[in-house]
Amino acid sequence: MKIKKNGEIRTAYFYISPLLTIILLFILIPIVGTFINSLYRDISYLPSRFTGFTNYAELIKLSDFWNSLKFTTLFTAVSVSLETILGISFALLLKEVFTGRSFLRTILLIPWAIPTAISARLWQLMYNYNYGLLNYFLDITHTGAKVNWLGTVHGAFWAITIADVWKTTPFMTLILLAGLQTIPDELYEQAMVDNASMWKRFLYITLPLLRPALVVALIFRTADALRIFDLVYVLTGGGPAGSTRTISILGFHYFVNGDFGTGSAVSIIIFLLVFIFSLFYIKAGRFKETL
C-alpha cells in the first residue's frame, strides 16, 4: 500500500506541475521581479542603480499618490455599495416566479459579456457633452442644464461609477441569486404564518442567511474595484486634471513614461492592498470547507 501511495503523490505532482509552472513563471516570478525592480532607480534615459526603498519614500511624499488612493477607495466604496443594493434588488426580483422572468434572466448577463473596452467607449458616447444620450434626456425633460460629465471632477466620478455598476451588477446579482436559492422556503412560509411583514421577512430571514454569499460577492467586487484599470483608462484616461487617476492608472503612467522603478513601487503597493483583501476573502469565505 505504501508503494501505491508514493506513486500517487508522484502522479499528483506530475499532474499539477504544468499549472504550477505556468503560475510560477508568469505570476510569481514577475511579482518578485517587480518588487526587486522597485528597489532600483530604473528610468529609461538614466543609468540604473540600486536605491533601496527610495522610490517608496518619494511616492509617499507625492500628493498625486494619496489622491490616487483616495479616489480609488472612494470609488470602491460607492460603486460596491450601489452594486450590492442593486444586486440584492435584482436577485430578489429574479427569485420570484412571474411571466417574463426567464426573459429577464436571459438578458441579465449581457452587460457582463460585453468587453470592458467596448462598454467603456459606449458609455463615453452616452456621456458626450454634445451628442450624448444622457444630456439629451436632461435636455428634453428640462431637468437641468447639460452636464459636463467627463469634464468635471464630480461628473467624471459618477460617470465612471455608473458605468462600472452597469457592468458588474449582473455578477453580483448572480451570486446573490444563488445564495437566495439556498434559503429554504419553509422559513418564509413559517414566517408568513406568523404574520411577519415582507420587510420583516427580508430583514430577519433573507439578509442573515444571505450573508455567506454576500460576503463572497462583496470581497470579490471590492478587490476588483480597487484594481480597476480598463474602464477608467478608456473613459477619462485619469482626467480631468488627473482627478480620476486610480492607483492602477498611476502605475501605468509611470511605466509608459519610462520610469519603471516608481511604476514597480506603485504596483507593489497595489498588490499589498489587494493581497490583504484576498487573505480576508479566504478567511471569510471559509473555502477550506469546500475542499
Binding site: 499532474y15 504596483s267 498588490f271
Partner: protein, 275 residues
C-alpha cells in the same frame, strides 16, 4: 391581500427598470452604429446607413479584422490550454492526497485577485528580453496564468461531485489515471468544462492592460486595444464607426452568452458560493 398587490407592483417596476437598465446602452450602441452623423439628437434628421460597417471592414488601415482575428485566436488557444492544465490539476486535487492539496487551491484563489499592473511591468521586461513582445505567445502565456485560478476552482467543484468510486472501479479494471481523467471524468463534467472554457474565453477578449503593454501593432493587438485606440478616421472620434466595430464584436458575444448561459451561470456561482 395588500401584500400580494405590493409585490406585484414591485415586480412590475423592478422588471421594467431592470430591462431598461440592461438594454438601453446596448440598443443605443446598435442604433448609433447605423447612423451617419450624431446630430440627429439636436434636430438633424436620422440617416440610417450601413456605411459604417462597410467602412470598418473594408478599410485595411483600421485593422479591425486583424484585431478580431488576433483576439479570437489568442482567446481560443488560451482557453484550451487552461482547460487542459487545470483539468489535470483539478483531478490531482480532488483525487489524490498530497502535501499542498489544500494550500495550492487557496493560493490560487489569492492569486486570482492579484492586480494585473503588479505583474505587467516585469512581464514586459521578461518578454522584451525573449523578443516576445507583439506576438501571440506574449499574451497567451500571461492570460493562461491569470485565468487559471478561476478555471481551477470551477473544475474542482465539478470534479468533486463525481464519486471517487468510479475511479476506483476503473482502476480495478486496469485503466491508467490519465485515461480515467480523459475518458471518464472529462465527459462527465462537460458542463463544467464548457463553463470554464467560456469564462476564460470571455475574460481574454475583455482584457486590456496586458494587451496595451505587451503588444505594439495590429499583428498581435487584440480587439480591446483596437477599440480603445480607435480614433479611426478623424482625430475626433467617429462614433458611428466605433459603435459599428463594437457591435461586430458584441453581438456574437451576446449571442454566445445567451445560448450558453446556463453553463456560465453555474460555473460562476459554483465557485462563488459555499457548498
Amino acid at each position: 391581500m395588500k401584500e400580494v398587490y405590493v409585490k406585484k407592483i414591485l415586480i412590475v417596476i423592478g422588471s421594467v427598470f431592470f430591462t431598461l437598465f440592461v438594454l438601453i446602452p446596448v440598443i443605443w450602441m446598435l442604433f448609433v452604429s447605423f447612423t451617419r452623423d450624431l446630430g440627429f439628437l439636436q434636430g438633424g434628421g436620422v440617416n440610417l446607413t450601413l456605411s459604417n460597417y462597410i467602412n470598418i471592414i473594408s478599410n485595411k488601415n483600421l485593422h479591425m479584422l486583424d484585431y478580431l482575428k488576433n483576439s479570437i485566436i489568442i482567446s481560443t488557444i488560451t482557453s484550451f490550454l487552461v482547460i487542459f492544465i487545470t483539468g489535470f490539476g483539478a483531478y490531482a486535487i480532488t483525487r489524490f492526497n498530497f502535501p499542498g492539496k489544500f494550500t495550492i487551491p487557496l493560493m490560487m484563489l489569492a492569486i486570482s485577485i492579484f492586480p494585473q499592473i503588479s505583474i505587467a511591468g516585469y512581464l514586459f521586461k521578461i518578454e522584451s528580453n525573449l523578443r516576445l513582445i507583439n506576438t501571440y505567445p506574449a499574451l497567451i502565456f500571461p492570460y493562461t496564468a491569470w485565468t487559471a485560478p478561476l478555471a481551477l476552482w470551477i473544475l474542482i467543484s465539478y470534479f468533486s461531485q463525481i464519486p471517487r468510486e468510479l475511479d476506483e472501479a476503473a482502476l480495478v479494471d486496469g485503466a491508467s489515471r490519465k485515461n480515467i481523467l480523459l475518458k471518464i471524468i472529462f465527459p462527465l463534467s462537460t458542463p463544467g468544462l464548457i463553463s470554464a472554457f467560456l469564462i476564460v474565453f470571455i475574460a481574454c477578449i475583455n482584457e486590456l492592460l496586458f494587451a496595451l503593454l505587451l503588444t505594439t501593432d495590429y499583428r498581435a493587438q487584440t480587439i480591446s486595444v483596437g477599440i480603445t485606440l480607435f480614433q479611426g478616421l478623424h482625430g475626433e472620434i467617429p462614433w458611428g464607426e466605433l459603435m459599428a466595430s463594437a457591435s461586430l464584436v458584441t453581438v456574437p458575444l451576446i449571442i454566445l452568452t445567451l445560448f450558453l448561459q446556463k453553463y456560465i451561470i453555474s460555473g460562476l456561482t459554483r465557485g462563488g458560493v459555499k457548498g
